[in-house]
Symmetry: C2
Subunit: 211 residues, 2 copies
Amino acid sequence: MSALQRRTPKAEARAESQRERILDAAQKCFIEQGFQGAGMALIAETAGISTGLTYRYFDSKSAIMLAIIARELEGKRARIEELCGGDDFLAAVLEKFRAWQAGSADVMNAALFLEMSAEASRSPEILEAIRKSDALVLGEFEGWLRRDRSAGGLGMPAGDASRRALLMQCLIEGLVVRAARDPDLDADAVGRALAPVFEQLGFTTPGTTRP
Amino acid sequence: MSALQRRTPKAEARAESQRERILDAAQKCFIEQGFQGAGMALIAETAGISTGLTYRYFDSKSAIMLAIIARELEGKRARIEELCGGDDFLAAVLEKFRAWQAGSADVMNAALFLEMSAEASRSPEILEAIRKSDALVLGEFEGWLRRDRSAGGLGMPAGDASRRALLMQCLIEGLVVRAARDPDLDADAVGRALAPVFEQLGFTTPGTTRP
DNA sequence: AAATAATGAATGAACGTTCATTCTACACGG
DNA sequence: CCGTGTAGAATGAACGTTCATTCATTATTT
């Protein structure tokens, strides 16, 4: 991102930590004010540094945006395994839903997710980054569905797996939207709405969750 | 919206058409540049009027945003009936999906939808408007599911109807996200992913859509 | 002539970005 | 162990734009 070349590894490590500090601040600002609404001055102030210093670590505001998006996509990809890992998939999804509603810091932020998605229709660069990441997530999910039950998967035939992975992608993205548009919606009600579908698709064995 | 009082009905009619002309232009700009990215100068130019004149019809840019959101919500509510009306619900949904992908003018725009949803987490006013509208849409949908088959409904028991309406709301919102994030995704593939769920929930009688 | 509609230049604030300057930490000759 | 040189880190004021908004002025309608 930054054109600067660091000499010593120690300096490079510090530079990296500075970059992360800026990204943390930028993410907070972008969530609170939107991509275009947050100014460089606010980002710098939030990071506890001067405005000018920001440009030592990033070439432009747009570079920060792209870095935030890349980081968010990577985080989402990393966290998809948490969903597949557990033994109660529905419960795991509902837990995420509650976190999205609360705007919890350790989850992909719903507003940021929505703004990224909207921005994809304006910037081909962002669209491509999102598309690649989504394809990876979808593939990982599909892999989980196909993998043998003995290997922690669900042992579905290939066709079913790909169809259901796509369906689940839509459903989860829909839940993010819902969390943003109705932060007080009862998560249990969502659970009751999802349960029959999850059962039919084989994600949840009937009785795992209370009826 | 505007503080101005019109004297004659004729003048009022013209003022109304001017307001709509401004809203049309603003909507186009907001879609192309985002809420914060589009400036008043661009909006006025797109509407074919001067910058200053805009303020005769709207108090502020934020007032235009709110009007656009209100209008979008109203349009969405009006179009929900198209979905319920037809005899092939799945096909109707897929048609909408294709329109979202293409950014067709006669449908709620996906990017605008996403930006509105993101903005809801920042403005209580927008959140409330969205919540109220969503509740209406959900209620209408639920009503369709509960209504007797003889009256064009699906004749579901109350509990089922409310659960399935919520599920469908999530699913459809998820499809909007997907359309924005993958404008080239094959709509038929989406159809194959949705079909089994729609069948199970009773939205589509098996065989209505090609297998 | 009176009232309304429309203009577009003016306004001050805020924007992203740059840059001359200062600060800080560490290397090295003494 | 001490100045002292030096390079990188950090500053914050300044730059040119652009922003939303206002207003004195002109055009159009009634």
